[in-house]
């Protein structure tokens, strides 16, 4: 039986979980927002990672078949997407209950309460099918993993269509309801859910055209070529495999917890490692030539030097001030009333970089407003702001010993294109053109990956799961 190892990175804003196999290959990823309750966030991320891992195992088991029949790959990808939607739906219902409850408690006056409840129902009716559609047809599941972000965007959209006077009360209801709904771990029965997803897919594929010319063709790589007849067939032939992975006894051999909230994880002491070591180890595993790692997370920035083994030789991190970290960007986004995801792209439109003096969260708002009043363009201000963040990071890097080839950038902020742009610029300016800069699509998972890799190398540790003989997953 295969052995699996888990790494959980409990960050200040997001929790990540990664499951690897004995070859250090990532087979499962899970991510969720970390709000008030760390251990729930860790559990949710871990659940997600195990579901994701089951799908990976499925793909692995079917490797040869998939090569021969590309429509299998498409089906499995679709299935995972719909599976995510099924989970989402349950959470959404949970949120619905919470919204109603908040409304009941909050509005003491009967007619007002009824009006609000009606609005809430209407809002839900409006966005539910949209979200479903996005999951089924627009690949929403892989675009955004955060429940809160997805619903809040839709909720906002609907609220904005209503009378302006309703904005305040409806947002208050939302604020009071989202956290309890988000902070609840819902146990899903994988098998039940995956079967539901298969049924849902049947519906989706019903709308596909019937075979016309050559339904025996195996060249179904692109969605355009998918035909209903094929899928009826696919779902039947895969059912047994799907049942297999649903029943798979997914035993986690060992695990390591890391990150900001690692001390809160119910892991034994030996299974807790600093995120500095984990990020470096993870980054080095993906890019073995890495000698310098920069990790910008929600609360802190770390500049790390590693040796040929991926072990840390020195590091520097920011002090208690979180200036220039992910949280700062979140704050700026709020200040501009845009979503965090829009921030980087907007900064990319900068024609010049406005000089920003303060990367301090407390001062940034004032400076931002002041510069806007002076007539500076938003994009240019944001350009300057992103550059300022990187300048701060560069000083930490310098303190840790400088940049060596190869240089790997990790952490949630590595998803921001403007950050990447200025980082590249400044690294080259300061350390020459010969530095190879690595940024992986999984950059946010590096800490969890490093953790899982440590877990694989430290099998002696006392596991809570191993003690009771129960599988952890």
């Amino acid at each position: 039986m295969s052995k699996y190892y888990l790494g959980v990175d409990l960050g200040s804003t997001t929790s990540k979980a990664v499951i690897i196999n004995e070859a250090d290959e990532i087979i499962g990823r899970g991510i969720t927002n970390t709000r008030a309750n760390y251990s729930v966030a860790a559990d949710i991320a871990r659940d997600e990672a195990t579901y994701n891992a089951r799908f990976s195992v499925l793909k692995k088991n079917l490797e040869d078949e998939i090569k021969a029949k590309p429509e299998y790959r498409k089906y499995i990808a679709d299935l995972e997407s719909v599976f995510q939607y099924e989970q989402f739906k349950v959470k959404l219902d949970r949120l619905g209950e919470e919204l109603v409850k908040t409304c009941d408690n909050f509005f003491t006056e009967k007619t007002l309460r009824e009006t609000m409840l009606n609005h809430l129902r209407a809002i839900r009716r409006a966005f539910k099918p949209k979200i479903k559609h996005d999951y089924l047809y627009n690949d929403l599941g892989s675009r955004n993993q955060f429940f809160r972000d997805i619903v809040s965007e839709k909720y906002n959209e609907e609220v904005n269509k209503l009378d302006a006077t309703l904005f305040e009360p409806l947002m208050t209801v939302w604020d009071k309801s989202i956290s309890p709904a988000e902070n609840e771990r819902i146990k899903f029965d994988f098998k039940e859910l995956v079967h539901k997803a298969m049924d849902e897919l049947k519906e989706k594929y019903k709308n596909l055209p019937e075979s016309s010319l050559d339904n025996k063709s195996v060249h179904f790589d692109a969605e355009m070529n998918l035909l209903r007849g094929n899928f009826d067939h696919v779902s039947d032939t895969l059912r047994k495999h799907i049942d297999d992975i649903a029943e798979l006894d997914f035993e986690i051999e060992n695990m390591t917890g890391t990150g900001y909230g690692r001390a809160l994880l119910p892991f034994p002491q030996e299974c807790i490692r600093s995120e500095i070591l984990c990020h470096a180890f993870g980054a080095h595993a993906v890019f073995p030539e890495t000698r310098t790692v920069l990790d910008i997370g929600g609360q802190d920035t770390k500049a790390i030097q590693v040796d040929k083994y991926g072990l840390v030789t020195s590091f520097q991190m920011n002090d208690r001030c979180a200036a220039g970290c992910g949280r700062y960007l979140g704050y700026i986004a709020d200040e501009l009333s845009i979503s965090l995801n829009e921030l980087g792209p907007l900064a990319m439109e900068a024609q010049k970089e406005v000089n920003i003096c303060s990367t301090c969260t407390v001062f940034a708002g004032a400076e931002l407003r002041e510069l806007t009043n002076l007539g500076e363009k938003r994009a240019d201000i944001l350009g300057g702001l992103h550059k300022a963040i990187i300048m701060r990071a560069m000083s930490l890097i310098a303190r840790s010993g400088g940049v060596f080839n190869e240089f790997t950038f990790t952490g949630g902020v590595a998803r921001n294109p403007a950050v990447i742009k200025y980082l590249g610029q400044l690294v080259r300016e300061n350390y020459g053109d010969n530095i190879k800069i690595n940024i992986h699509t999984d950059s946010i998972f590096m800490g969890a990956l490093g953790g899982a890799m440590f877990a694989r190398r430290n099998i002696k540790a006392d596991l809570p799961g191993a003690k009771t003989g129960k599988a952890v997953a």
């Binding site: 600093s274 070591l277 840390v312 030789t313 991190m317 002090d319 208690r320 010993g401």
Partner: protein, 433 residues
């Protein structure tokens, strides 16, 4: 200075406690007994000269660190800021000024007497000069004696420098003492005191070097700051001081023979997992918590630079009773913070090697530019010369707002885990070789 733990009362601790109690009681009675009071600082402090004139010393930095340990510094600092001292000023100074503003109640709860003489003998930090200016304003009746101490810029003490200082002692400092106390300077008395100093210094060095044992029987930083109290402040030169170090040496030797580890506030350490050399003062407001992070993880400090702020005796320097004034002049110039950066690096390198340390750690002090300047260079140099991993944390002397427990713990944990990994790899490499 307060004792680390009442539960484990070693004889030396009792002695030190009594010494301090006696001194503070003398201070509180100074007005009645007619004893004169001298305010001065720890680095390069001329205690023997103060004693030769039967004066009582007061150390504002010690008061500040004591206030820090007793959680009073936060309030004092705020009060000093209220009267206009900037947030960036050395927090020792602000704490001291805040204490003055609050009635100058000293560590034992008794009011400290006003100074009759303000003696500045360390000039390596510009803040000291400014601090003194402030003290001078607060105590307008006190005489001021300023001894300009040259910095060891070229890495050595020259005869000219010694002559320059002796001249100042003769023409400026001693006459001030005579004026304040009404006593004539007695060279023979100073010589006698210096003889005691040499004896205490000999024991002190032997104690410090005990940390070369594996495991080390002492913690040369957290416990070291208690051990260094008498010799670096008010007692060097007194027979009690010799007594104290003699007793301490006996205890430490016994521990070493039994292969015992250092005593912490929570009892004896069980395992020495890491041996470290530390640079920079400790944080005083969260001293216990700070120390705990180390002993919980089995980190023992085998040598530190901070315990040398009052003199680098382990490198061979001893007072010379036969040339009293030259001797104290040389002493003054030789304290750690008067060494230039290359000298500091050499010293630390030596410590890492001689004490077989696994790592070198810097505690960089936010509000002390003087101590913190050059630390990154020191860090890189030590890394290169010794190959041991270097750690870097940041805190403050006595400003509780600058101590972030979570941040420091995170860095230290990472650092210790890094040391551990390195050990494993080194062992593997050895096996392969």
């Amino acid at each position: 200075m307060a004792n680390p733990k009442e539960a484990v009362k070693e004889k030396s601790m009792v002695i030190q406690k009594e010494m301090l109690a006696k001194q503070f009681s003398e201070l509180s009675k100074a007005k009645e007994t007619g004893k004169k009071v001298c305010y001065t600082f720890v680095p390069g402090n001329l205690i023997e000269l103060i004693m030769a004139f039967d004066m009582l010393p007061v150390y504002p930095e010690i008061n500040a660190l004591q206030s820090g340990m007793r959680k009073k510094s936060g309030g004092y600092i705020k009060d000093a800021e209220k009267v206009g001292h900037s947030e960036d000023v050395c927090t020792y100074v602000k704490c001291d000024i805040g204490m003055f503003l609050n009635g100058n109640i000293g560590p034992t709860g008794e009011k400290l007497p006003e100074p009759d003489l303000l003696l500045l003998s360390y000039t390596g930090c510009f803040t000291f000069l400014k601090w003194f200016e402030n003290l001078n304003r607060l105590y307008p009746n006190a005489e001021v004696a300023m001894l300009h101490t040259p910095y060891q810029e070229d890495g050595k003490i020259t005869q000219e420098q010694i002559d320059y200082m002796v001249k100042q002692l003769k023409e400026e400092v001693i006459p001030k003492f005579e004026k304040v106390t009404g006593k004539k300077f007695d060279p023979a008395k100073l010589t006698g005191l210096l003889q005691n100093s040499v004896e205490a210094e000999n024991y002190w060095v032997k104690i410090l070097e005990m940390a070369k044992n594996k495991p080390s029987p002492i913690d040369a930083y957290f416990a070291g700051v208690y051990y260094m109290g008498p010799i670096n402040t008010s007692f060097r030169g007194s027979p009690e001081c010799v007594e104290y170090y003699k007793e301490l040496y006996k205890e430490v030797k016994e521990r070493a023979d039994k292969k015992l580890l250092p005593v912490t506030p929570e009892g004896e350490m069980e395992k020495e997992r890491f041996r470290l050399v530390v640079e920079g003062p400790p944080n005083w407001t969260n001293f216990r918590e700070f120390w705990k992070i180390f002993y919980d993880l089995g980190a023992v400090i085998v040598a530190s630079t901070y315990t040398k702020v009052g003199g680098v005796y382990d490198q061979g320097y001893r007072q010379d009773p036969s040339k009293p004034l030259e001797s104290i002049a040389t002493y003054c110039m030789g304290c750690y913070t008067n060494l230039n950066l290359p000298q500091r690096v050499d010293l630390i390198e030596k410590y890492v090697k001689e004490y077989k340390a696994d790592g070198f750690l810097i505690n960089s002090i936010k509000s002390c530019n003087s101590f913190s300047a050059g630390q990154l260079m020191i860090m890189r140099e030590i890394e290169q010369r010794t190959g041991v991993p270097v750690g870097f944390i940041e805190s403050d002397l006595v400003d509780p707002r600058y101590f972030s427990y979570a941040n420091i713990k995170n860095r230290l944990e990472s650092y210790f885990q890094m040391l551990e990994q390195r050990k494993i790899i080194l062992e593997q490499e050895q096996v392969q070789a």
